[in-house]
């Protein structure tokens, strides 16, 4: 087939409704299922899939939004770097509105800082090549999905012998976060939808241990309406049958081992480091830092940002929302003091942060 016809089926209304019907048919008691990926949250809200589910299913939105969990310290560092003369800060569009302690990238740009939105980390390398007199820093956020591309940018910069390129390493890893969430004393998550594109890169060989340890079924899930409902159906089936294990509901993209070449690239450039998750706290070995051989490309080494004192809004309950302990509507500031136009915390900023998604799509009953 020359067109995407074979993929259109994953949005087919008839199939979607039928799978939703099958879920209704199988459910016999309430279940709480977390989808860890912000892209999945966005898709669920955009297509209104939660409205097709029986009442017994509660979907809890996890911290799978790198924009939401990038620690305040890193954001403040990015803001500081962007404010320096002769620096071009490049970033994915998502990050521009995320509030730091006192400012955001938009405001820094308005004050004269050079900030450029890029679609791909490799575009940052091009910008560095084209602007040899300026320092170019790439704000390298993302989960494992984005890690290979971020790694490639560093490898390319090295190949080109660029001396004016560096990255602010801010990648985070999913499995450590899952451990943290599932081991929390307040955890009420009974089933997990694993992030499909993270697994496309990493595979899902890390998950059977997690499923076993916490007695929680995990299903690798994609992003189209049919993918999401299938993921939920598989999870419900395992829960109803009392089975614990890992299933793959996104086989057209994800394999058990993942992409070895991509993993190799990540390992070549990055190593696991402890990382603070905004609103949650430090999760050991949950972030990626540059290996020593690539230290020259580390913006935190290149720029002496000094001591960063961070300050979060006192009202914002982002941490509890990100861990699925509270819903956005539970927040006293939701929709009033805190809106996409004037966000208090990161989950209201990013278009797939739980609060923003809920605000945009879910308010019709209020």
């Amino acid at each position: 087939m020359s067109s995407k016809d074979f993929l259109k089926g994953f949005r087919d209304a008839k199939l979607v409704k039928r799978v939703a019907g099958e879920i209704r048919h199988r459910v016999s008691q309430p279940w709480s299922i977390m989808e860890i990926c912000g892209g999945q949250t966005h898709a669920i809200m955009q297509y209104g899939l939660d409205q097709l589910l029986p009442e017994e299913i509660e979907l809890i939105h996890g911290p799978g939004c790198p924009v939401c969990v990038t620690p305040l310290e890193l954001i403040d560092q990015a803001l500081w770097i962007a404010s320096q003369p002769n620096v071009i800060l490049t970033s994915f569009g998502d990050m521009l509105r995320v509030p730091g302690s006192t400012s955001d990238l938009f405001s820094v740009r308005a004050a004269g800082g050079q900030i450029r939105v890029v679609y791909s980390p490799l575009d940052s390398v091009k910008i560095a090549k084209d602007n040899p007199q300026q320092e170019v820093v790439f704000f390298a956020i993302g989960f494992e999905t984005t890690a290979p591309a971020n790694a490639m940018a560093v490898v390319q910069a090295q190949k080109l012998g660029l001396e004016n390129f560096s990255i602010l390493p801010a990648n985070v890893l999913v499995p450590p976060a899952m451990h943290t969430i599932l081991s929390s004393p307040n955890n009420r998550i009974q089933g997990f939808l694993a992030a499909g594109h993270v697994c496309a890169v990493m595979g899902y060989w890390e998950y059977p241990t997690i499923a076993e340890k916490y007695q929680t079924p995990i299903v690798v899930t994609g992003f189209e309406p049919l993918d999401l409902l299938q993921g939920i159906l598989s999870t419900v089936e395992m829960l109803e049958d009392g089975r614990v294990g890992v299933e793959n509901a996104y086989p057209r993209v994800v394999g058990f081992e993942g992409n070895r070449a991509a993993q190799g690239l990540i390992n070549q450039v990055f190593k696991p480091v402890d990382r603070k998750w905004r609103g949650i706290g430090v999760i050991p070995e949950s972030g990626l830092g540059l290996r020593n051989v690539y230290q020259d490309f580390d913006a935190t080494e290149r720029f002496q940002t000094g001591e960063i004192r961070t300050q979060e809004s006192e009202i914002c309950i982002a941490g509890e929302v990100l861990q699925g302990l509270k819903k956005p509507a539970d927040c006293p500031a939701f929709g009033t003091l805190c809106t996409p136009n004037s966000p208090l915390g990161a989950p209201m900023v990013s278009s797939e942060g739980a609060c923003a998604a809920y605000y945009r799509y879910g308010r019709k009953n209020q």
């Binding site: 899939l49 939660d50 097709l52 939004c65 924009v67 569009g93 998502d94 996409p340 019709k364």
Partner: protein, 358 residues
């Protein structure tokens, strides 16, 4: 000095330095109001836009209004689009069509435009000429005339190449009452064609996101299509062009003005497949992207078919579709019904549209 020394000098022609004739780029002198300004105006503007009004060369144009012109529509818009040339159009065409359309949205027949230019020194005159050619062409198509204008030149980096302000003037027929506040429960909501073309075309032309497509801006003057529509269906209540902020923002404005709610059906909304693809790639929603050649029409439901047929007869309305309905409850709310039967709120555009990785 002795006479002998003078004899040894050779003269190589007139030694009085003549000023450069600036024909390639705009310089500060072009904005001075003197001869250079006159030269620029005649060479670039009048030669392309020439009409009796401009020929009078006064500070203002004298217009004689036809009988029955008690209701007039006046609009103004400033155009700062970057890049100034993009697939399907340029800032000049945009400047004319944008204002022509704004006037037409009140059910008025646009007749006269003014055009004010702010030029950055160093701006190529060839580019200026091309832009004015484009404006002349658009005026011709829309049957309007630019009757007054102004040109200023500012220092480098004070503006981004060229900014254009246009104001438009049109006459509204006596019995017409069209505006965002007139939508009625039970009315049908129509759109004249595909959404998001202009937004994506301009984004592509900027080049930052590195994609290529055949998407063209839809920038076009809609006044003739609208006039035909209003002759066929005088009962139209609302006309609105969904420019910045897209369809979603315009519908929200109307819902607030008219104190009604609007429900639209997702699978009826026309979007070109490649625009849809670009949106999915970058994480955009086509309902929030700018359009410069589309109109939202709200009219009583029993006239909807007649209205669609009228739009279909125009080259700018070939893909017109009925997309929704007006309701009395929940005033100010706009809802979208998906093909799965679920419903979600369609808010106004909150802030700048940015590509996302999540």
């Amino acid at each position: 000095m002795t006479t002998q020394n003078l004899e040894n000098l050779t003269m190589q022609g007139p030694i009085c330095p003549l000023p450069h004739h600036h024909t390639e780029t705009v310089v500060i002198g072009h904005g001075s109001g003197g001869k250079m300004t006159q030269d620029l105006i005649h060479h670039s503007f009048f030669s392309r836009l020439g009409n009796a009004y401009l020929a009078e060369a006064n500070d203002a144009a004298r217009i004689i209004l036809p009988k029955g012109s008690e209701q007039v529509a006046i609009s103004t818009d400033s155009h700062v689009v970057s890049p100034i040339f993009f697939p399907g159009g340029d800032i000049g065409r945009l400047a004319v069509c944008g204002t022509v359309n704004d006037v037409a949205m009140l059910g008025a027949q646009p007749k006269y435009l003014t055009a004010g230019f702010i030029l950055e020194e160093g701006f190529p005159i060839a580019s200026l000429d091309a832009i004015i050619d484009s404006m002349a062409e658009a005026c011709q198509e829309a049957s309007v005339q630019i009757v007054a204008g102004d040109t200023k030149v500012v220092e480098k980096n004070s503006v981004d190449q060229i900014f254009i302000n246009t104001a438009g003037f049109g006459v509204i027929q006596k019995d017409r009452k069209i505006g965002g506040q007139f939508a009625q429960p039970g009315d049908a909501v129509l759109i004249s064609g595909t959404l998001g073309d202009h937004g994506i075309a301009v984004m592509e032309a900027r080049g930052d996101l590195g994609f290529e497509s055949q998407i063209q801006s839809d920038v076009a003057p809609l006044n003739h299509m609208i006039e035909d529509l209003l002759n066929a269906v005088p009962e139209v209540h609302v006309l609105r062009d969904p420019t910045r902020g897209g369809l979603a923002t315009s519908l929200n404005e109307i819902a607030c003005q008219s104190k009604v709610s609007i429900v639209i059906e997702e699978d009826t909304i026309p979007v070109k497949p490649n625009v849809q693809t670009a949106c999915e790639m970058l994480g955009f929603d086509p309902l929030y992207l700018a359009n410069e050649g589309k109109v939202i029409v709200i009219c009583p439901a029993h006239f909807a078919e007649k209205a669609i047929n009228s739009l279909h007869a125009s080259p700018y309305g070939i893909q017109a579709m009925r997309i929704g309905e007006i309701f009395a409850d929940n005033p100010g709310r706009v809802l979208l019904k998906t093909q799965y039967g679920s419903t979600r709120i369609l808010d106004m555009l909150a802030n700048e549209i940015l590509p996302r990785i999540c």
